[in-house]
Amino acid sequence: MSKILIRGAKVLGGEPQDVLIDGGTIAEVGSGLSGEGAEVVEADGKVLLPGLVDLHTHLREPGREDSETVLTGTRAAASGGYTTVFAMANTFPVADTAGVVEQVWRLGKEHGYCDVQPIGAVTVGLEGRKLAELGAMHESAAGVTVFSDDGKCVHDAVIMRRALEYVKAFGGVVAQHAQEPRLTEGAEMNEGIVSAELGLGGWPAVAEESIIARDVLLADHVGSRVHICHLSTAGSVEIVRWAKSRGIAVTAEVTPHHLLLTDELVRTYNPVYKVNPPLRTERDVMALREALADGTIDIVATDHAPHPHEDKDCEWAAAAMGMVGLETALSVVQETMVDTGLLDWAGVADRMSVKPAQIGRATGHGRPVSAGEPANLTLVDSAYRGLVEPAGFASRSRNTPYEGRELPGRVTHTWLRGKATLVDGKLT
């Protein structure tokens, strides 16, 4: 593999420097590096970050290839600046065996746009009754370390306890979709002022918070790691903050859309805003931003959830839940966290690359931008502003809530172990 010189990039938002890639590795970082024998990329003061890592992606393959495939999903990921995605287990068949996770992992390798790290189901068929073969999935070629029944909550306290205990044997983590099922029967949106008016079934904050409270106590009791998926309420932030102050090994993620959008948008009854957990209130949004800034929430994860047009172009009740997010995540984080002064670019690198890689044990990702490290890198034009145009998405699905909205920032280049997957905003 040839040499690449990235000239004049603000590494983690700092002073402009040159970064020389040789093969799959960063050879040198400094000023005035020679571009001899190297392909030169003029960065012009763009921000250089370690390749982003998404701990929460739905690639839909196998089973719903009409929504997304490993290929289209990883192309979307590369477009968004990601070099690793963790693929959720709620596929058809469910990723609850070594065979399925290896298939997904291998497809990622073959396509080469992004490393795909499968997440294994906690229970067989996501049914919440019987533990899946967690050990076999870990020992497979995919080396699964993160387990989740995402889409469904592991609501049985005993099953959750056992899963937390069991994965300790191989350093795994259980990622919980915190949703008390009885409290959310018939739920279609956040329960509050807007749901009362619209007559849509309410998803109360306490249904999330009560599960998080239970799970941090369980994790404490058995001495295991628990990760909270898509945390969405101010109350959840308080619980995680308390748990961390007690030394409990809990980590948490927030989605870009929960950092920006509120349940007021549901007044349009446009299913593009239908998502689980639902969009919450302005107060929740502000609490989530604060918590991401102060580290209570560890990471941003997209919960990229592609759906075909017909599953959204219908009445609210019939619509599928979820939004695509890989290609807009960094822009939303810039808008809500960087441009508001809550987080600098080093902070973004931490929340969107370093920490998610650590939680998911994705060695080789989320590394410092320095000599000797793997050349997984993302170059961002932070001065750019433009309208979101879903027609240009690499994802097979277009269910974005940001269509026609102006967002800042644009990923121009992505390198996966020194190989460009995105050049000047175009996939290779």
Partner: protein, 325 residues
């Protein structure tokens, strides 16, 4: 007025009063030997019912036929929310057939809003009840009934319900009738009180333009009209209240309770009534109970709404009045 009627909250005071006044004129048609106006001749209206409701459908159908519209009834019972059933496809089929207005009843809140605002069709959309969201013509017919009873048929013309005290009792949580009534009655200047066990009031109700009480007995003496909402027996199994008897004791309207209401006060019910649980036979059959009038008034209100949305700019009253004179 707006192009569609989706929510009672979309109506201004003047819109609402215009509809009520127009309905008074429409009501006169019912008193004539030939109960028909040529107003919507040549217009096609489809009654698109995804959810069973014989009463509402017949009421709309009667209104449409009295205005000489061509009527298509489309029933797609029970299939609406299941995957594979597409509201969009159905709507576009009807549009292709040249439908001028769609009267839609749907089990999902917001379905009429989507139909009107998604660019799927051009026809006028009238919400005939959506999920637990809105049922605006029901609220209009209720307001019409109140205005007639509490102010008077002719005396009420041009007037709203300023200062009238209206109490709604029962399952507010699941009631589109309650939501529509709170919006419309507030617009018309009435003071609304909702009475229900806390389990049957939605979280977030504190922002509604009304009072909320858990105590029926203290509310009754201050009420000009008491509207009982239907309580489904299955709510009991979902633990919204302990037993039917307990509900009845605390929130049912019987003769004793009715006696605590001011003498002029009326009892209303959107129907169908569950006698014995929310209302006793004694109350239901008393002359203070307006259930049957509400049904009759429903036709007048729906005529008025369809006329105003489809009929153009001339007052509806021109034809019958000229003829009467």
């Amino acid at each position: 007025m707006q192009r569609h009627l989706i929510s009672a909250a979309d109506l201004t005071r003047d819109d609402a009063v215009l509809i009520l006044d127009t309905a008074e004129e429409m009501a006169r048609v019912a008193d004539r030997p030939i109960k028909k106006l040529p107003t919507l001749r040549g217009r096609t209206i489809v009654n698109l019912f995804f959810e069973d409701s014989t009463r509402t459908r017949i009421s709309f159908e009667a209104a449409e036929k009295r205005l000489s519209a061509d009527v298509i009834n489309f029933t797609a019972k029970g299939s609406s929310v299941s995957k594979g059933e597409s509201l969009k496809d159905t709507a576009q089929t009807l549009e292709a057939m040249g439908v001028d207005a769609v009267v839609i009843r749907h089990g999902a809140s917001g379905a009429p809003y989507r139909l009107a605002n998604s660019g799927w069709i051009d026809a006028v959309v009238v919400n005939a009840g959506d999920g637990t969201h809105q049922h605006p013509t029901q609220a209009l017919l209720d307001a019409f009934t109140m205005r007639r009873r509490l102010i008077g048929r002719d005396a009420g013309l041009g007037r709203d319900l300023e200062g009238k005290r209206i109490t709604l009792v029962g399952d507010v949580l699941h009631s589109r009738v309650a939501r529509s009534n709170v919006d419309l009655l507030h617009t018309l200047g009435a003071e609304v009180t909702l009475v229900a066990p806390p389990t049957l009031l939605p979280v977030g109700i504190e922002t509604w333009p009304c009072e909320v009480s858990y105590d029926l007995d203290s509310t009754l003496p201050k009420s000009d009209a008491v509207m009982m909402l239907r309580v489904q027996r299955e709510r009991m199994n979902a633990a919204f209240f302990p037993t039917e008897r307990e509900y009845s004791r605390r929130y049912g309207l019987d003769g004793d309770r009715m006696a605590r209401m001011p003498e002029h006060a009326i009892v209303m019910h959107p129907g169908p009534m569950v006698r014995g649980m929310e209302i006793t036979a004694e109350v239901a059959d008393s002359d203070r109970c307006t259930v049957v009038e509400q049904v009759a008034n429903g036709v007048s209100i729906r005529m008025a709404v369809l006329y105003l949305l489809l009929g153009g700019n001339e007052p509806a009253v021109t034809h019958p009045r000229t003829e009467e004179k």
